[in-house]
């Protein structure tokens, strides 16, 4: 969006104009005043366009004008038809003459201009007695033979070049449509070279003819012909090489893309003829024709068997450059422009216009449907071409090339989202996503290179983030106060400034409507002038609606682009792609949450500008949907993690299992600490997934002798599991929930499977005891610290006095006791516990099971046990103190 300047906001634009502009401004004001005066006068006299145009005189004038226009149109059509018939080999010989009229006139003009003044020039030079090269006439034989040679050579080059082009057309493009073949002849440089040769041959021939008739040998003509002939001869080789490049269809795409880009520029508001509906229609039909050509070219490139896909990728790149250009310019096209094709829209009979009803009743016909502009037609075609291209690349096994194409898709989606066209960005990413998911589901993953599949999935996920991230990012880049400063734009009679501001389409439609209404107000009542507050209020309402749509779009994008495809992949047991998709889904959920927060802040910025109370966004529902999406992603991730084999995490890929474990653990603790904890089913699934994924590592540690580095990592993973189990047990104690029982049951089941249970318990004790042996600032310890901080924060939030230890000694202050001894025994300082949750896990669970009976627990665990015992002993005194 273009940010209005401070002058715009303060309404000081008029005063800040340079002094040179002031007379112009005054003249404009005078013109506007005269215009309003005329309107006022005609209004007083009761004259209006509607009445005048239906008078007899106006009717007659209109008929005459129509007939004149029809006559000219008919003449033009006839001429074009004749030219077309000559072009495709019609029988009208005169058509050939007509086709060559322009170049022939040019050649005649050049030949006569350079030949006829020669005697006069010689005479003048002789009079002033200046001897020059112009007087040294070439000898007759030389002149004649030179021109003959040049004419013959030019004709030869013409034939040779035409034959070369013909060979290309008849071999490489034999199955292409006529429009595609015409592109080769219409290619700019080819066309110019052929014309230059034809011109050279014609001029040389005319020179010969003039020489035969008048006997004048022109030095100037000879020089001109010599220069042009040299250019043609020298240029033949590079142009010829270039022509052979046209075997590649991607070289031809410049012409159709350039024409579409030109038409887009012409239909933008402010262009000379952009307001003419027939011109808009013509521009659209041209663009549609060129889109068909692009589609044909793409199919041609895909059908060809080549060793590389550079041609296809080049085509894809060009198409997406066009899409990006259109995305950045489309906000400057009026919403009701005929550039957008129309689709019928049937209104309810009762709700329709009375004039239409009368016509329908009088003629006994149905009501004419209203036509609604369809604004996605360019993007639709480009999307279809992209999908076809991507599908062909993936089916051909060219996953890296597909990833390259997806990068282009990602850039286009980002541009679309930044231009506030969230729906189109979503549609584009969904189209490619459907292709990618179908490829993953139908491919036998055993034969699929893992890196290739992962790179395709990863790039697709990056593209899918665009509708979530970039729409709100570009929207919030401008202050909300600047969004609604639209009074200058709306008061501009031409409306061009409205399109330069880059409003989102929904807002633009609302503002265009107000702009049209303002023009109607001013024309119907010259004294009418809407106040600034009203214009800003209208913009504010439109932007509020747009913000609502954007929030809705963000949530929809998370669901459609991440949750749904990931679930499909999980159901199809494509574990590795599903895992990558789910990890990106977590990122998408986090980014969506951030963007919703940003939009909410922007929304809050709009509220003070509102005059009256309006319907504001209710963000509770979107946030709930986002939380549900996040929960389901983690549950899916939990079901994936145990199906990933250790070989999946190789050198070429990231440590996906560790990443998943970290994310699940974080989600469990964050949910337990939050106001809406996980339901029991989701907790069971997530904890079980985390437990099993970590337990597999622990078993490996028990059964094999690992190298030192891997042993440290495995011990760290086991410490994570113990810590998470401890946190879950403590939250269960704190909130009096059943999470602790689930944790205990899971451990019971796994320990029961082991043959040497005592050794395993000893291993666990050793792990707890050696907490300082690993890297203290590693990923695992830092995450565990974070969990402890969250738990201590939860204690304070839920009314447990975390400073009780200090106050007990210093103030004797009474506090409310918790029913759990474990919670009562926890001593904290500066958001950290003196003993860790893993110690409490051992104290609450491990020391109580049978295999641990003969083992001495570590000192920290024993301290927890003693602390809980003291808390239990202290309890009656505390209760008495509370009663007192």
């Amino acid at each position: 969006m273009k940010a209005p300047s401070a002058e715009d906001l303060l309404g000081g634009r008029r005063d800040s104009r340079p002094w040179l502009m002031r007379p112009l401004s005054a003249a404009c004001s005078l013109g506007r005043a005269v215009y309003r005066g005329i309107i006022y006068a005609t209004s007083c006299l009761g004259i209006s366009g509607f009445i005048l145009r239906r008078s007899s005189l106006a009717w007659a004038l209109l008929r005459a004008a129509r007939k004149t226009r029809l006559w000219f149109s008919h003449r033009q059509y006839k001429t074009e038809n004749q030219l077309a018939s000559a072009r495709i080999g019609g029988l009208a010989s005169i058509g050939i003459v007509r086709l060559s009229t322009g170049p022939l006139l040019l050649a005649v003009a050049v030949a006569f201009t350079l030949t006829l003044p020669q005697p006069w020039l010689n005479e003048q030079l002789a009079r002033v007695a200046i001897h020059s090269a112009w007087e040294d006439k070439p000898t007759d034989g030389t002149y004649e033979s030179a021109l003959t040679t040049v004419a013959a050579a030019a004709a030869g080059l013409l034939a040779l070049f035409f034959a070369t082009v013909g060979v290309i057309v008849s071999t490489s493009y034999v199955r292409a449509t006529t429009d595609v073949r015409l592109l080769i002849f219409n290619e700019v440089l080819n066309r110019r070279y052929l014309r230059l040769n034809a011109h050279l041959a014609t001029v040389a021939t005319l020179g010969l003819v003039l020489y035969e008739f008048q006997g004048v040998a022109s030095t100037a003509l000879l020089v001109y012909v010599g220069i042009v002939a040299t250019i043609c001869l020298v240029g033949f080789f590079p142009v010829g090489i270039r022509v052979f490049g046209l075997f590649d269809p991607s070289k031809l795409i410049r012409e159709p893309i350039g024409r579409i880009a030109r038409e887009i520029s012409r239909v933008r508001a402010g262009h000379r003829r952009s307001g003419d509906p027939s011109f808009q229609n013509h521009a659209r039909s041209t663009a549609v024709r060129q889109l068909r050509v692009i589609h044909d070219l793409a199919r041609l490139a895909l059908d060809e068997e080549r060793t590389t896909n550079s041609s296809v990728l080049s085509l894809g790149g060009a198409i997406h450059r066009l899409a990006r250009r259109y995305a950045s310019l489309q906000q400057a096209i009026p919403s009701e422009s005929r550039w957008f094709p129309r689709r019928p829209h049937y209104a309810n009979w009762q709700a329709s216009d009375s004039s239409q009803t009368q016509v329908a009743l009088a003629t006994g016909t149905m009501q004419q449907p209203a036509s609604k502009p369809y604004r996605g037609f360019i993007h639709d075609d480009l999307r279809r071409i992209t999908s076809d291209t991507l599908e062909a690349l993936l089916k051909g096994g060219d996953a890296p090339d597909a990833a390259t194409l997806l990068l282009e898709v990602s850039r286009t989606a980002t541009t679309l989202a930044s231009a506030q066209d969230q729906a189109e960005a979503l549609a584009l990413t969904q189209a490619t996503q459907d292709v990618v998911v179908e490829w993953l589901l139908n491919s036998e993953l055993t034969n699929l290179p893992t890196e290739a599949a992962v790179s395709v999935v990863d790039v697709q996920c990056v593209a899918s983030l665009a509708p979530i991230l970039d729409c709100s990012k570009s929207l919030c880049a401008v202050e909300p106060q600047a969004w609604v400063a639209v009074e200058h734009q709306l008061r501009d009679p031409t409306g061009v400034r409205l399109y330069e501001a880059g409003h989102p389409r929904e807002v633009l439609i609302a503002l265009e409507r107000v702009h049209s209404q303002l023009r109607f107000d001013e024309t119907s009542d010259p004294l009418a002038r809407a106040e600034t507050w009203y214009l800003r209020h209208v913009a504010l309402l439109a932007y509020t609606a747009h913000l609502r749509c954007t929030v809705e779009g963000v949530i929809r994008a998370v669901d459609a682009n991440f949750v749904v495809p990931a679930r499909l992949l999980v159901e199809a047991e494509a574990w590795l792609p599903a895992a990558f998709w789910l990890l990106r889904s977590i990122e998408a959920c986090a980014k969506a949450g951030d963007q919703v927060d940003k939009l909410e802040a922007a929304h809050s910025g709009l509220k003070p500008l509102c005059r009256f109370e309006v319907d504001w966004i209710q963000l509770d529902v979107p946030r709930t949907r986002l939380t549900e999406a996040r929960d389901s992603v983690h549950v899916l991730l939990g079901s994936v993690v145990n199906h990933l084999s250790p070989s999946d995490a190789g050198e070429a890929l990231p440590d996906i299992t560790g990443d998943i474990r970290a994310k699940i653990g974080e989600h469990i603790v964050t949910s337990l600490a939050g106001p809406d904890p996980l339901d029991l089913g989701s907790f069971t699934k997530l904890y079980l997934a985390y437990h099993q994924a970590t337990f597999a590592v622990v078993l490996k540690l028990l059964l094999t002798t690992l190298p030192q580095g891997e042993a440290v990592l495995a011990t760290d993973a086991l410490r994570d599991l113990l810590e998470l189990s401890g946190v879950a047990l403590l939250y269960s104690e704190l909130d009096q929930t059943d999470y602790g029982q689930i944790v205990k049951n899971t451990w019971d089941a796994d320990i029961a499977k082991l043959s040497d249970k005592t050794a395993f318990i000893k291993l666990l004790y050793d792990t707890i005891d050696s907490r300082l042996s690993g890297p203290i600032f590693g990923a695992g310890p830092m995450q565990r610290q974070h969990w402890i901080q969250l738990f201590v924060g939860s204690l304070a939030e839920r009314g447990v006095d975390v400073l009780a230890y200090e106050t007990f000694h210093f103030g004797g202050k009474t506090h409310t006791t918790h029913s759990s001894d474990a919670i009562e025994s926890i001593r904290t300082s500066h958001q950290l516990m003196f003993t860790e949750p893993s110690d409490y896990f051992a104290a609450l669970y491990l020391t109580g099971i049978e295999p641990a009976e003969d083992l001495n627990p570590p000192a920290t665990v024993q301290e927890c046990i003693d602390s809980m015992r003291r808390a239990a002993e202290r309890r009656p005194e505390d209760e008495e103190a509370t009663d007192a």
């Binding site: 209006s48 509607f50 009445i51 209404q517 107000d521 209020h537």
Partner: protein, 323 residues
């Protein structure tokens, strides 16, 4: 209800005339405008429950109870209401409609006389309708021109008592405008017919929506001074801000019409009261006035309240009580 035992003194003739084809006034849109104005004006005065404390009252001051009863029963009404509060809204509605459609409406004060031993005494008064376009005032005298086949014994030209003629017209500032408005709406209708004929004959190649806009613009321009909303025809074309200001203009127009009619009626009452030797005065309190319109206009320009809140005063039901 007219008492048929009395001797009714009526100078003017009344005869049934067939209604001309088409809508009253010759144009459907003009007729709708007249209906809207009359309904709006009636709503100012209409009330079914009396005395609910909103301060809206109509009364006749400075007159005896006998004269007040005579004046209250003088207004023509379908149900034969003898209460001023019941008869007044219908009467004003009829007058407003006639003013907009045909500029003027005249009534003759008919005198219901009872013969007693002291001579004839005035017992009842009725406002009798004079067919439109038949009355002429020359040098302070009023005459009615009756068609020859309806003239009877009294002849085609009947001289009337000037004081007994009650003439109701629009305020002076609106008279010329309303005449122009009638002509313009008629012209628009004729052009509209030609446009629709063109569509039916498939002759019109113009863009329908553009012609439609021009058509609406013509209606909006000719009704802009009174602010008529053309029954929602212009809703989509105008900004809600301008539509609000037009709506307030419409209310101001209806209020001015109402005030002018009540002023004329008050004059007629005073002339009747002079027969009794009294000077009655028709007084209406608490009705929406021009001041309310100006206040709402200022509120609109400031944007201090939602438009619906500003219009609330003009839309609430009105109760009329008799003092």
């Amino acid at each position: 209800m007219r008492d048929h035992n009395l001797n009714w003194d009526r100078r003017t003739a009344f005869w049934p005339t067939p209604a001309p084809p088409g809508p009253p006034g010759g144009d459907l849109r003009l007729w709708m405008l007249a209906q809207d104005a009359s309904t709006q004006t009636r709503s100012h005065l209409q009330g079914v429950n009396h005395g609910q404390g909103d301060g809206r009252r109509v009364r006749i001051d400075h007159c005896s109870e006998q004269l007040a009863a005579v004046l209250s029963g003088s207004l023509p009404s379908k149900g034969g209401d003898r209460e001023l509060a019941s008869a007044l809204p219908g009467f004003v509605q009829q007058v407003v409609m006639s003013i907009i459609l045909s500029d003027v409406i005249d009534y003759e004060v008919e005198l219901g006389l009872e013969s007693t031993h002291n001579g004839e005494q005035l017992r009842q008064v009725k406002l009798g309708f004079i067919p439109s376009g038949t009355m002429a005032c020359i040098w302070g005298s009023a005459y009615q021109l009756v068609p020859r086949d309806q003239a009877g014994e009294k002849g085609p030209v009947r001289r009337l008592d000037r004081w007994r003629v009650a003439r109701f017209r629009a305020p002076r500032k609106w008279r010329g405008y309303l005449a122009r408005l009638r002509r313009q709406l008629l012209l628009i209708r004729k052009r509209e017919e030609r446009w629709q004929e063109g569509i039916l004959d498939q002759k019109s190649r113009e863009d329908f929506s553009e012609v439609h806009r021009q058509h609406d613009l013509a209606v909006a321009r000719c009704t802009s001074r009174i602010g008529w909303h053309a029954r929602g025809q212009l809703d989509e074309r105008l900004t809600s801000y301008h539509a609000m200001l037009r709506g307030l203009r419409w209310h101001a127009f209806c209020i001015e019409l109402r005030e002018e009619i009540l002023r004329s009626l008050g004059g007629a009452f005073q002339r009747i009261g002079a027969v009794y030797g009294e000077e009655p005065k028709l007084v209406l309190d608490g009705l929406v006035g021009i001041g309310d319109v100006r206040e709402a206009e200022a509120g609109t320009k400031e944007g201090s309240k939602p438009f619906n809140d500003l219009l609330e005063k003009f839309h609430r039901p009105i109760e009329v009580t008799v003092a």
